[in-house]
Subunit: 204 residues, 2 copies
DNA sequence: GTCTATATTCCGATAGAC
DNA sequence: GTCTATCGGAATATAGAC
């Protein structure tokens, strides 16, 4: 280790290039040569820093998987009222994913291929601390503020409405004949529309 | 072509095996050897019938892409009332995909990798005949039967709520700690819950 | 049409000079 | 640390016997 700054910088360049290629092409479709090219260096260096494609992938995937669950935990565990939580959840999720539109497809796809054990390694064994949210939903049902609904269904609905449009972008554009500009305007509106859609559905 | 029936049968065996492998592993992850094994024959035969992996893939993909838009067109274009259409749409979509749970991930993933031109080749240039549905929604808003909503948002919401759970199965199971049996019960309930969720949201 | 054997290409990984 | 050159294996594809 002669040159710490240069090491750091090189490692960072590799990770950045690897992120781009892996997210775009997936583990199977990605090529070490491609990553090296984008990082502006030779293939051999990738192995010098990360030993193997698999190890490099794992590093990138874990980093991206963390990004994929934004401050959702914080929002869900906060003591805000239910409707406020829903509004924040939708806004944060769609905003974050708009900055990383390929992320959902990448994560969902690899999660379906990697073994279950890998998921646990990435996100931990416990799942999201969703019990508090579940309790809150049950409470509001009890109090007669919202209609009866299975809290798990509600959570999946929230995730689906936020995440799906990114994975389904080509399909949506084909159905609705939107071009890219239209689509991103459409997604901007969605930040409000989806929250409204959910709240209108459960409000009594 | 000495033996028509045997040809048919062999070609069919290949396509069936190829479907399984491609849908499960994707284009990049699939191996011709794997397909040959599942079809109970030799690798060379695959090339004899389909020339190349790419050609075989294309055949399979086009077939599956057609399956992915079930009788949705029929339902949407029918003269049924809006709420009935929504109920039918949800029920048909979730039922069909439950029979092919890997299909959504496969189609969404490959659609994101293939060029736009390929989508047009598979599904045609026009998109779904969704205008009639849009008109119907606008009508019901006009009449004051449902709340104002962008019909495109409604369509995307319907698709999202039906399709996402299949692509997001590992994530959902991690969050909710459901095992497979729980999950499929959960999806069975969803056929009713999702329709209710949508209708409750837009009904005035 | 179906098989075995082999050619060809591609790609991850390593050796070794600097 | 970084490069060039190359190995070795894997996967697609073809040749040729039956």
């Amino acid at each position: 280790m002669v040159n710490m700054e240069k090491d750091q910088s090189t490692e960072q360049k590799i990770l950045e290039a690897a992120r781009e290629v892996f997210v775009e092409k997936g583990m199977d479709g990605a090529r070490m040569q491609d990553i090296a090219d984008r990082a502006g260096m030779n293939k051999a260096l990738l192995h010098y820093y990360f030993r193997s494609k698999e190890k490099l992938f794992e590093k990138v995937f874990i980093e991206q998987a963390a990004q994929f669950l934004p401050q959702v935990g914080d929002i869900i565990m906060s003591d805000a009222p239910l409707f406020t939580k829903i509004e924040r959840f939708v806004d944060v999720y769609i905003t974050k994913l708009t900055e990383n539109p390929y992320l959902p497809m990448f994560i969902l796809n690899e999660l379906n291929k990697q073994p279950q054990s890998f998921i646990l390694k990435v996100w931990g064994e416990r799942g999201l601390p969703v019990e508090m949210f579940v309790t809150q939903v049950k409470d509001e049902i009890q109090k007669g503020i919202i209609k009866p609904i299975d809290p798990r269904q509600l959570v999946v609905n929230m995730a689906a409405l936020c995440i799906f449009p990114f994975a389904g972008k080509p399909m949506i554009q084909w159905v609705t004949q939107m071009n890219d500009e239209d689509f991103w305007k459409f997604m901007e509106q969605r930040k409000i529309e989806v929250a409204k859609f959910i709240i209108d559905s459960i409000r009594k």
